[in-house]
Symmetry: C2
Subunit: 222 residues, 2 copies
């Protein structure tokens, strides 16, 4: 029987690498994309479409979580909160979206149970991340337990976060080893045609490529 | 400071009783209702509106989870699966919706974090339920831990399931003691103007009223 893996794929560097790793591991892929009224919704959706086409993934779920505008409280959704561009700082940043990965993983669990997927793959990164509590490995372990307790006894799901202990440079190197289509990814937090180069996500990405000693092929405005 | 309680309120017997108990406990209530393409979506939404008006709850979230039609796999959403009416049986029934409470609680957690609510109230019932894995108390405990690990360190949320160990007759008695508006609730799984009286949910409800020795005031077609 072919093993199925449900990959949460935003279209960014991390989730694209994690998905490509799962293909490399021999899994049949189900790709799951969320729109949640984030500023870059359309750009991320395009990146997702291009990546699944490139990776020849046919089983695709695109889910609209428009209700996130009622949650707001984050610079990624609420236009009155500015996306920080001054450089990385300690603590939980303004781009934190309340319990976003909890919501994403819960929906992923329902789809995995329906599809008979034994694995949910999430490109969460703890070490070199933006300080989001829902990217910590103790949260992921606890959520795996919750998912298995809250679904049928016959459903057994592993949450797989292959990048959780890597830094961005290691992720870039991993991606290059398995030919993940990094040129199709979108990481920037700002809604523009080219990546801004100065938001936390662009800074982490650019630093990763720099340390890995390779060129990032997507266009930047700065 | 007023303590805030976020109550997941479907408009059924259990969630209405749990919400009334939280009012009775002195909490400021935020009521959260989900539509998820279930057969009785409109009827449940009306019940919710009537109940929050009756209970004078002003802080209300109504969230549309239309994507549940992509999950399907349940008689409550997929019209090709028949709602069982032959009587209660053992095991997970056809009305099980994959990880529904996991999804509901994750979204509730995000809203509770935004609103600064210390408690999420869910009318889940383990003992006399329909055999749903996401109504078990070990799932609820695990989910509480996941929510606290996956939100800010300053966010502390308790999942409160005051009915989890009660049977339906005890819930009816509890509701009557605090004047919960049971006459406004809707429990039936079928989409009709009056409750069917024969689906699992109607059977559990009617048996509860019968054992409690009181009359159920909502109209039944059988």
């Amino acid at each position: 029987m072919v093993k199925k893996s449900l990959c949460v794929l935003s279209g960014g560097l991390d989730s694209t690498t994690a998905t490509a790793m799962s293909i490399n591991d021999g899994y049949d892929i189900i790709a799951l994309h969320f729109s949640y009224n984030q500023l870059t919704q359309q750009r991320e959706s395009e990146a997702f479409d291009n990546i699944v086409e490139y990776l020849k993934i046919e089983n695709v779920y695109k889910i609209d979580l428009g209700f996130f505008n009622l949650i707001g409280s984050t610079a990624l959704i609420d236009k009155s909160i500015k996306v920080p561009t001054g450089g990385l700082t300690d603590g939980v940043p303004a781009t934190y979206v309340p319990f976003r990965n909890g919501i994403f993983l819960s929906i992923a669990a329902a789809i995995a149970e329906k599809e008979g997927a034994s694995k949910i793959v999430l490109g969460a990164v703890e070490e070199d991340s933006s300080g989001y509590p829902d990217c910590r490995s103790n949260f992921i372990s606890s959520m795996q337990q919750s998912i298995n307790l809250g679904t049928k006894d016959s459903t057994k799901i592993t949450l797989h976060t292959p990048l959780i202990d890597l830094n961005k440079a290691q992720i870039v190197q991993q991606a290059l080893q398995i030919d993940a289509p990094l040129h199709l990814t979108w990481s920037c937090y700002q809604n523009s045609s080219t990546a801004c180069g100065v938001c936390d996500s662009c800074r982490l990405r650019l630093r990763g490529f720099e340390i890995a000693g390779v060129k990032d092929l997507i266009p930047y405005s700065k």
